[in-house]
């Protein structure tokens, strides 16, 4: 058993391919983490059930496709609305009572995730389900070094689009100003006449809806399990925390983490890459706990 069995030697074309896959990974990280960035950034709420919102989005897509025959593209906005409503209910019911207690929010949302996972398992059973890939996405790009499936390409495009839309909402609309005001200082914003609680509810619902749409996309990529969400939650949190809890930060960190993950996977394999990446992140956070890019926010 030697070191060489772990390390793949460097070859240009496969390495370039892994860089491209890194873009795909980055887009997945970004979409998964976007909702969390907004929720944690605006409200300081650690939502451990975020992965389950993704899972709910995937299962909702499955239901819409299988029982109502709704085409894939139409599913996206429907899932957004559905999961946003669920998120709204959860915020009103549970999260609202825990605003000043971040650790308790973490634990309570973990309890919630247990309930959601088991609930879905009871309703749908534990066997894997599938979201059908639509015909117009059912292709593979095979250029010189690029091997990409249509779904992954769509995810990349979607990530850019949704990032742009969210950026527009946050920085070019009055609603965005209100959200950013609440993010910076809830009390001051409230004293300016902004209904902070309503902003919180809307933000949480938006973040949940984004997670739901992420689920739709990921469902087309992978099979559906009741606990598929837990595969995304740690990565999503790391993207958020490394990026500095801001929109631009998350873009950068998802890009960096996605590329690094792909590069490490090329040299070793997926699981060992995860170990290296997480260790690097932990070390990085020790030296720069505020993340990559910090906008002015209240100290959490």
């Amino acid at each position: 058993m030697s070191v060489h069995d772990f390390w793949t030697p460097f070859a240009l074309l496969p390495f370039l391919n892994s860089l491209f896959i890194g873009i795909s990974l980055a887009s997945i990280f970004f979409i998964a983490a976007l909702g969390l960035t907004i929720i944690y950034g605006a409200m300081g709420v650690i939502n451990m059930a975020h992965g389950e919102f993704i899972m709910l989005g995937a299962y909702t897509t499955y239901v819409l496709q299988t029982f109502f025959g709704i085409p894939f593209l139409i599913c996206l906005p429907l899932v957004f609305i559905a999961i946003a409503l669920i998120g709204l209910a959860i915020e009103r019911g549970l999260i609202r009572t825990l605003y000043q207690r971040p650790l308790d929010t973490l634990l309570a949302t973990w309890g919630l995730s247990l309930i959601l996972i088991q609930g879905i398992r009871l309703i749908f059973g534990g066997e894997p389900k599938y979201v059908g890939v639509p015909k117009w996405l059912d292709f593979q790009i095979e250029a010189t070094f690029i091997h990409l499936s249509g779904v992954r390409l769509f995810i990349i495009i979607f990530a850019v689009a949704i990032g742009a839309i969210t950026w527009f909402l946050m920085y070019r609309t009055t609603l965005g100003i209100r959200v950013r005001a609440v993010m910076q200082d809830k009390e001051m914003a409230a004293s300016f006449g902004i209904d902070a609680n309503r902003i919180y509810s809307l933000t949480f619902a938006y973040g949940a809806g984004l997670a739901g749409m992420a689920g739709t996309l990921f469902g087309a990529l992978k099979t559906l399990f009741p606990d598929m969400g837990s595969g995304y939650i740690v990565e999503a949190f790391l993207v958020v925390v490394v990026g500095g809890v801001g929109l631009v930060g998350s873009m950068f960190s998802s890009g960096i983490l996605g590329e690094l993950s792909s590069i490490f996977s090329y040299f070793t394999n997926d699981t060992f890459a995860r170990f290296i990446l997480f260790t690097l992140i932990v070390v990085f956070l020790r030296f720069r706990p505020q993340g990559l890019i910090t906008e002015g926010t209240t100290r959490r």
Partner: protein, 359 residues
Amino acid sequence: MNGNLYHNRKAQWAVYITVFALLALLPTYYDNPFTLNQFARYIVFSITAVSVSLVWGYGGILSLGQGIAFGMGAYAMGATMQMQYQDPESDPIPTFMLTNELETLPLVWEPFWSTPIGLALAIGLPTFFFLVFGWMMFQARVAGVFVAIMTLAMLAAWYSVVYDMQPFTAGFNGISPPMPFEIFGTQIDPYSATSYWICLAFLTVLTLGTKLLLHTKFGLIVQAMRDDPERARFLGYNVAYYQTVLFTLSGFIAAWAGILWVMIVQFVSPTSMEIMLSISFVIWAAVGGRTSLLGAIMGAFLINLGQSYAGDAFQAYWLIIIGIVFIAIVLFLPKGLAGLFEIILGKLSGQNSKANQGA
């Protein structure tokens, strides 16, 4: 405080000693080997709950990565037990390594030929890791939620390593030492009262030792840091140092749990480092009462008993019940069932001292 019995030190020690004495008498009533092994497992889980209670309930550090110490201790113990079975001349290499095309025993496995060294590594490695990791975190003043996320990420990272390094750790199949643990020339049957008492002995020593520590000045300082780290800093205490020591201690306790676990189940796999297991440790401590070591022990017992005897009817709903109970505890009873007990005792003794009202 008025006369709330809950806070009476003598009463506390009496209760602790009574509980451990009752637990020690258990094998005289239940001598079914399967039951004994079952209860030994609960005792091991209680030890992990105590480690969480120490670092979270008393230190205010929510560590979701106790599984790292638990798993490291477990794997080291598994390696020790495996090598006890292997013979240096005729059969030096464990089967799973041969299946993974290893021709010689890897260097990292060599120390485990010797049981004392194996045990020392099983305790030393996790404790050392927690020392370094804790120092790294707390020196940078990482606190609260970030500690939780970092310990979680570290746990996930270690899970990946252990899962992946199949030639070294047998991957997801896990290591199954064919023989029970042997020490001082005797084999310890996992289904006997002996192994149960060994686990109970460790639980008693670790719990009472921790309780003694918490009654010292160290314990008071650590609780002060839990309540307000900034204030402690301004009072001149080196918060990072105390937090690191506490964190390392909790790793030490969890490592013993890992060692005992493999002794009684004769199996170790990546599940010992699963996220769900580490969070279960936290749930047990939270439900039982994280600010009380005995509460954490009771929490671990209650939930695991419930899980075992819930029966097929409840099994499907068990996770939902746990989730609801956990949310309820977090929302309404932050100090867990022990806290409920404290409130009840407070009400009972409060009624006897009307003079304290308005004080």
